[in-house]
């Protein structure tokens, strides 16, 4: 069982803040400073007939909350879809190996060959999504001649799928797999293709940039002007209330931005390393291999990545 991150929520609290807190803290300090400025200057600029009241900010605040709520649900949907895709990856990998093992029970060496291709696909996908080097993992898993064709390819994940398809085609040519069983296995390979293209889609198509931009900007301007609207009513309580309201809006905006790209390595992103590790252990165990890799454990910040 993957360690559930929320079992250690207390520590994660600081971890999460560790990554974004500096930015949020900076903005809240700014907001605090604005509140102090508002208190100090209030009497002076009120005398000039310049004033802000809370009523229009109330209207605007609710409008922004609605738009921010929508932005959050869109970001969260991306996060969820990414998680479902990696869940499917695990499902399909297990199903494919189970199929091959029940179709060819007396050929364990073929099942191992096949499992290695599947494991390589998962690592390859992880590295492609994170933009890291896949060389080491692939070298560990695949024979040399396959490696070369992958290295020269612009889309190595898709190349591995092609290798899997070739492997299956060879089984069919050799008469080891009938057309019907070929069809069954092939349908699951199609699903690997769906997972790949789904992840590429999420990774390549951000939320329309103008949307994030409008919400982002509006949140920041709103929080900057808020102290001046609060000060006529609240005087010395302005900093407390202003920072509180800003915290709610700014941290939700920051989280939405973090969730928008679920394949990164920030604390709230998907732990792709741990997921590849689980897939590898699962498939190797199905082949009754004994030298399983170490299961990844959360680090000192109780964080998987």
């Amino acid at each position: 069982m993957i360690v559930r991150p929320h079992q250690h929520w207390f520590r994660r609290l600081f971890v999460w803040h560790g990554s974004v807190l500096s930015e949020i803290l900076f903005r809240l300090s700014l907001n605090l400073a604005m509140s102090v400025v508002a208190i100090l200057c209030f009497q002076w600029y009120e005398a000039l007939g310049v004033k802000l009241t809370l009523a229009p900010f109330s209207l605007l605040g609710v409008a922004i909350a609605i738009f921010l709520g929508f932005r959050n649900s869109v970001s969260y949907a991306r996060f969820t879809e990414a998680r479902v895709l990696w869940g499917s990856l695990l499902i399909v990998n297990r199903s494919l190996l189970r199929q091959v093992k029940s179709i060819l029970p007396q050929r364990p060496e073929l099942a191992q060959e096949f499992a290695a291709l599947l494991i390589a696909f998962s690592y390859c996908l992880k590295h492609q999504l994170r933009g890291t080097s896949m060389r080491e993992d692939l070298a560990r898993l695949l024979p040399n001649h396959d490696l070369k064709s992958l290295e020269s390819s612009a889309s190595p994940c898709n190349r591995i799928l092609l290798l899997i398809g070739q492997w299956l085609g060879e089984r069919r040519q050799a008469g080891e797999v009938s057309d019907i069983l070929f069809q069954s296995v092939d349908q699951n390979i199609n699903q690997l293709s769906s997972v790949l293209a789904g992840c590429e889609r999420i990774s390549n198509t951000p939320i329309p940039f103008a949307y994030s931009l409008i919400v982002h900007r509006t949140v920041y301007l709103f929080c900057s002007l808020l102290p001046f609207a609060l000060v006529p009513d609240l005087h010395y309580m302005t900093p407390l209330v202003s920072v509180f309201i800003s915290y709610t809006f700014i941290s939700l905006d920051a989280l939405a931005e973090e969730l928008e790209d679920p394949f990164g390595t920030a604390p709230n992103d998907l732990p792709l390393n741990a997921m590849c590790n689980v897939i590898e252990i699962n498939l190797r165990e199905m082949n009754d291999e004994t030298n399983l890799p170490q299961r990844l454990r959360p680090d000192k910040q109780f964080q998987l990545n």
Copy 2:
């Protein structure tokens, strides 16, 4: 028919409160105490020029309601998905056994063997999700040699799927099941794999922690400050209104947290025991077995678990 819990809503009312009420009550008492403090100290700190008004809290309250509404819908979606997955488990189990029985009508002993594997899978999944010991249930259902391979496995549920696949592969090797029918049954086994991975996903991937945290914190700070914002207008009515508003926000927040993890044993969680029981009775009955297990009945608190 599973006893519908809401037929006994009156009693469940207290049951639910039995589990979370202590926490909610504690927080509401705290809120009540804050209200009394606010009433007592109001004149003193108003004289110091410190005051809070309701207007900014009104803005913030609506914003929090929107975010809390989103958090609720996300938690509820997890609960619903978990329920749908267990519903699929029942569907697929029935379909698999029906398929095997209509393909091999003259081999009831095979159908019994197969049903035992399916039932074992359900119990195994329940125990994995709740982190309880699956030993007793599996020992009751599976032959010894299967048990051993399961005990040494890191993911016993997936191991059972492998056993089911092997069983099917053996039928095919023996010529009892043609390739085409193998394909039909195999597709349903793939769905068992989907159910397994779906449950694992929900169980291992909580709602991004920062999200719960921000909403949680904001709700609590909001409720703590509310009495001070209400007291200038409401005076002696402050405790009533403050506790009422806090009740709405705090109890929805508490419920969202409870629904977020639907596989627990709290009153609003899924009754996995009863569901496994139904699956076992259903499958055994399809095999015309007569020594069916007792149907689980709600306990004295009208509670299934």
Copy 3:
């Protein structure tokens, strides 16, 4: 074509009210009485320094509207899903019979046998969901020996699926249906199984009870206190506005409760009788039978059930 209920909306208006109106009317009268009390006592308790203002209720009202909106969408989703499931039942029944008829065109007696099983399944599902006796309908449709096995079963609908599977298995054994066509028909039987389990899920898993409870309670307390918050501003207009606002909130809450269980016999529930009737007429007509049952017509209240 099923008679569209909204063609007679005027009458339905009173029908719907006929079922829930008494409760809503009672609560609105209570609200009216509270308004009168508020008007009468206002000066007395205002003199005591006790007062309620609208501002906190405005905040609370919007929050409740958001939560009530969510509860409504959840209830409506259950209603819709139930409707889609019964729509699928019609689809799959038609498709199954069409398949059997195009595979075995020269065996009309088999198609009739098969259609009877399908029709029996629909009626059985209706009776199971409503908790009514299925004996009469099944006796009309099925041969005696099948009836007995159904009566002793704890889940007769699933038993009928087993009979359908057996029927199909017999066709395959007799060489009348090839493995490939068996697979095609079998996939549709799997869908019947999905419909069954989907309906059971909706029927057995209400919206988490605590959720309905919190919203329900909050709506009622809100409406009870509302007159006291309105009276300082509105005086004699308090009853009108208070009853109007209460009507909006209370009737939506009542409707959400009614839609939550779509298989009942209340006016807004699904007309399962009419749906079974349509399925029976459709299937019999496909077999060119002439003694079709009477199509169900709405009753005097223009109500199907």
Copy 4:
């Protein structure tokens, strides 16, 4: 390419209004009249101590906006689903004909026969959904003996599916289509069945009547009382603001009602005529027929129907 209606938005503006505008205009005039009454009588009834303030209407207005927003999204979902179903109809028709043509390339006369059945199904569905006479279109497309069986049927669309199934069964009997290809084509026929039942479901199951009713009533009462709540603050500006707010609420309510039944012939409904026309042209063209029907063009109001 179907002419995009929004290319001519200016004219459509008046068209849409042409259909619902009379009703909306009537209600807005009523609202205007109420505003004038409110201005004229304000001093008189204020002297009596009767007054309405905006605060409770503000609360109610936001609540109604939330409920109206939900009603709109439900109506729009029905419209979208209806559109997706008709899109599927086009997809499946093309796929079916493509399958038949690639399976039986040297039998163009069979492909024409088959295409005629598919086209007839689309027209039949359109007429059933709109309650118009399908006689003329069917007579144009189908041979006489089929026509008769359709005319005596209570669900002619389903009857055509049965004919399509028979046609396919005959090909299989004649050995022109193997069991496997039969299965492929049959799956697509199942999808036609899904489209049929999906359209019937939308057409026969309106949004629960009580829901529309509550929202409808509340919107109207709200708009009627609004002038009296606005007049204390706005005096002579009451008519402008009151009509503006009423326009927003009333027109969205009217649109929701129009979208709820997407199969009508109102300007915002689906252009079923044009869609049938596209399907017919597409299928005939695939068969290299030359006497294609005229493509339907928008009328003078730039309106398809």
Copy 5:
């Protein structure tokens, strides 16, 4: 990997504005001018007893935010669906070619022929959706006799699917592809058909025109009247707050309109050129071709199209 547009957010900011900014700027200037008018005329028309207060605009603003939020989510759903469809196009193209290559490993010339048909389909779809000339791309990819039949066709994309189906039918006739493998490939061709019809649906069915119209109009009237409602409270701060609120509403409205039609060439639309380019490179690479087309790079405005 497609260049992620948000890596260059700063420049895109101006790009996006480049396309819609002129319109938004114009409207905001108008709003600014209205604010100045409001400040200048305030004392004059207040003396006449004419005034606007913020309270009704607050109510209206929240209502509009709710409706605008719905409109945004509908537009965004269209954008997302369009993106998913083009993602599927990539998936299915890869899967189809992988299938053909693993079924016919020793026939690379057939795989090239097939790949050319698939690539042509993607380009054809792009040109159809954008209304541009497909002649050049098709001439580059397809043999002459196919070109002719496409040019005379009213729906060339569908015609290419027919050619793909014929190609597959010929393989089956020649005994190179068994019925079962024909079925597997055919299912993926059905999915190409779904992508085609899905894109046509989005392109041909805008959001019901009345909906955009009502929201659009209401936003504009709201922003025009807003300065007059703000001026009594804010005096000289009116322009700042009025332009800020208007910016939020107007830019979200403008974005919703841009996303509504995702197949255009505006900066927030889908980069169909780049997508076709990726598909072509992917498929050619799978065939080990060496003269791959240049990968499209973002232009000087960091913009793909």
